[in-house]
């Protein structure tokens, strides 16, 4: 089951070729010149500093959400709750801002970020607690809690937190400067990206080289033997769910603060689910998730640009994203099958 390097490379190249092929067929089918449009997309994604910055903006929440899926996966848990954790983190982080909008930056910024991460950790921790205490399937509970979190955000922005000066537009007050996550490299990409990359590296080191990683591997491999070694599945379940949730919640509050500038509906365009798919594409590997998140972010950004300039219908970007995931999962699945058969 351990695919050799050459098989992996074949899988990646095959996947890319298959994606370009199917994308070209799709573009031809909707009456666009396939080759030129694909070239244009590559330019819109990574062609200049503005495009690159837009791609990184999209990649940031995707990366954080992917990390929030990968860590529980290392314990053998499958969570699909990044979207809900992102929304709940946005909600709790915003609670700090709407309560103390005049607080100085040195207090407001950290309080907002911590509250966002804590909210995500709580939302995910509930699913973790249910799993640990009552053996409730974490995939189902995280899936359902997504809906609750999204609707909770709607509830506050249509109700208690609605900005009275917004003329009926359902959103909170604009975040003050003191609560705006700074951008980096002089672009729209914000500090969340840096945090995401640092988190990926730290988590990679922790699960690869630390005793903690051994605990996760033993627990994922054989629960009974883990018990003999003194590792506690329930405690680790809570821990990985909470850390994962914190990352997704952090993504939520960063998105709200740096990109939207206020809490409103649609802070996430499916980042949670996209993060889940990125996690799977990376083979539940923290470092590999970084380039994949950037690529997928580029695809989404290019889709937006294409819609604006090439007058391609908005759904087509989503379709191409779907094609990418389907093709990539299919390619890695085929490669895995090949290896199993030969080895």
């Amino acid at each position: 089951m351990n695919p050799s390097t050459s098989t992996k490379i074949i899988a990646v190249l095959g996947g890319v070729a298959a994606f370009l092929g199917t994308a070209a067929i799709f573009l031809a089918a909707i009456g666009r010149p396939p080759f030129a449009t694909l070239m244009q997309m590559a330019l819109y994604a990574f062609g200049d500093s503005y495009s690159l910055s837009e791609s990184l903006v999209k990649a940031t929440p995707i990366l954080l959400c992917a990390l929030s899926v990968i860590l529980p996966a290392r314990l053998g848990l499958i969570t699909v709750g990044a979207e809900g954790q992102l929304y709940f983190g946005a909600l709790t982080g915003t609670a700090v801002v709407v309560s103390y909008p005049a607080a100085p930056m040195i207090v407001l910024m950290p309080a907002m970020l911590v509250a966002g991460a804590a909210g995500g950790a709580f939302w995910s921790g509930v699913a973790g607690l249910l799993r640990a205490r009552s053996n409730v399937n974490e995939t189902i509970s995280t899936l359902l809690m997504n809906y609750v979190a999204v609707l909770l955000v709607s509830y506050v922005i249509y109700g208690a937190w609605k900005d009275p000066t917004s003329l009926g537009w359902p959103a909170t007050i604009p975040f003050p400067k003191a609560a705006t996550v700074p951008s980096v490299f002089g672009t729209r990409a914000h500090a969340g990206l840096v945090v995401g990359i640092i988190a990926a590296v730290i988590l990679h080191i922790a699960v690869t080289y630390a005793r903690w990683g051994l605990a996760l591997r033993v627990l994922a491999g054989n629960r009974k033997v883990a018990s003999m070694a003194g590792f506690d599945f329930n405690r680790q379940t809570l821990l990985v769910m909470a850390i994962g949730g914190a990352l997704a919640g952090f993504a939520g509050i960063c998105e709200t603060s740096a990109i939207q500038g206020r809490l409103q509906a649609g802070i996430s365009v499916g980042y949670g689910l996209t993060g889940f798919l990125v996690a799977w594409l990376s083979g539940q590997h923290f470092l590999r998730a970084i380039p994949i998140a950037v690529l997928v972010g580029g695809l989404i950004a290019a889709g937006d640009a294409l819609q604006l300039y090439a007058k391609v219908p908005s759904a087509s970007a989503t379709i191409m994203q779907g094609l990418l995931f389907a093709v990539a999962l299919g390619a890695s699945g085929l490669a895995g099958k090949r290896t199993t058969r030969h080895g």
Partner: protein, 353 residues
């Protein structure tokens, strides 16, 4: 029962049933016996694989006894008494000529098992009570599948006790394995090591380090773990002695040696050994027994589950017999009588002797 009904409706000419009654209630089992007899009366061939003597008494025309992959006895059913069957099932012992472990010096109970009841899908333990002094070896005999494995897992703290308690040195250890309270003081050699004692995805070095895993430094040094593994593998003759191999790469016997190296290389207060010689040749089995007896000599309580009655009669200080999840009786080695033990194993004569 539904699965069975589906199979029985297939109109097959040969029906093979593998431990069909292990998941059935007694009443359902009675109905199954009726089905099986009907099938036989209709001229169909039925192969019934079971460890339950009741199944055999109810259904069988002919009996074949298998042990260690070989047929050890074959006869028409009416020519074999339950005692004779048990005798054939449990084997004659693999190891002779080891020094007999000295009797424990103290009689103060260190391990107290009180009214222990536990259940894990099918096999179970019912109201088991016994006490062990430091250095005492309790052999648990019986046809396998009568609750021995569940008893071992409960003693090791891996399966929660539904009632009763296990007290080691004054501390309750029932279902507390994961909090680390007993990871250091209990040695446990389970049956089927690949499923129950190692993590197949990890290499041998890490598998050998598991008992110490909680005391490893935050960032364990790979060389330290590997060097320790190499020493253990050499001492316990695990082959091939390559710490980087995956656990699933070892043969059953070598995997068992690996588990024994991990569990018995440190001083324990309680040793639970489930068929520790299974899959080993005579020399390796002797080595395992020697390690186990050394633990007893160093003051550990040893619970030794075995099907090799002669081994138990040679080396254990006391012998208990398990049948259907309960202990039928406990005797001192000097007072043990094969006939009585055999009757107990067959489920007869509780409270005798």
């Amino acid at each position: 029962m539904v699965e069975l009904a589906k199979v029985l409706n297939l109109n097959a000419r040969v029906v093979i049933l593998d431990e069909p009654t292990s998941v059935l209630t007694p009443a359902e089992a009675e109905r199954l016996y009726g089905f099986i007899r009907t099938l036989a009366a209709e001229g169909k061939a039925v192969v019934l694989i079971t460890h339950k003597l009741a199944d055999i008494a109810a259904c069988a025309n002919r009996i074949i006894v298998m042990r260690g992959g070989r047929i050890v006895d074959a006869a028409p059913a009416r020519e074999r008494s339950p005692e004779a069957l048990v005798d054939a099932m449990v084997g004659r012992g693999v190891v002779g000529s080891l020094p007999v472990p000295a009797a424990p010096t103290s009689h103060v109970p260190v391990l107290q098992v009180r009214g222990l009841t536990a259940q894990v899908q099918g096999p179970f333990v019912r109201h088991v009570s016994f006490e062990l002094a430091a250095g005492e070896i309790l052999g648990i005999a019986g046809v396998s599948g009568n609750g021995q494995f569940t008893l071992a897992e409960t003693l090791a703290g891996l399966v929660p006790a539904s009632t009763g308690d296990v007290v080691l040195d004054g501390v309750s250890i029932a279902s507390r394995a994961h909090d680390g309270a007993i990871a250091g003081s209990v040695a446990y050699i389970p049956e089927r090591p690949l499923d129950n004692a190692v993590v197949a995805e990890l290499d041998l070095a890490l598998n050998l380090s598991l008992r110490e895993a909680r005391r490893l430094p935050l960032f364990p040094r790979r060389e330290t773990i590997v060097r320790r593994a190499e020493a253990l593998m050499a001492r316990y003759d695990v082959r091939p002695p390559r710490p980087a191999l995956g656990a699933s790469a070892l043969s059953g016997g070598n995997l068992q040696k690996l588990v024994i190296a991990r569990e018995l290389s440190r001083k324990a207060k309680l040793v639970i050994a489930c068929y520790p010689a299974m899959g080993l040749d005579v020399l390796a089995a002797q080595a395992v027994y020697r390690e186990m007896f050394r633990q007893a000599a160093d003051g550990a309580c040893v619970v030794w589950i075995s099907e090799e009655l002669d081994d138990l009669l040679s080396y254990a200080h006391r012998i208990a017999v398990m049948h259907d999840g309960a202990i039928m009786g406990i005797v001192r080695r000097e007072d043990a009588d094969r006939q009585v033990l055999g009757r107990w194993m067959a489920g007869h004569g509780r409270n005798a002797a």
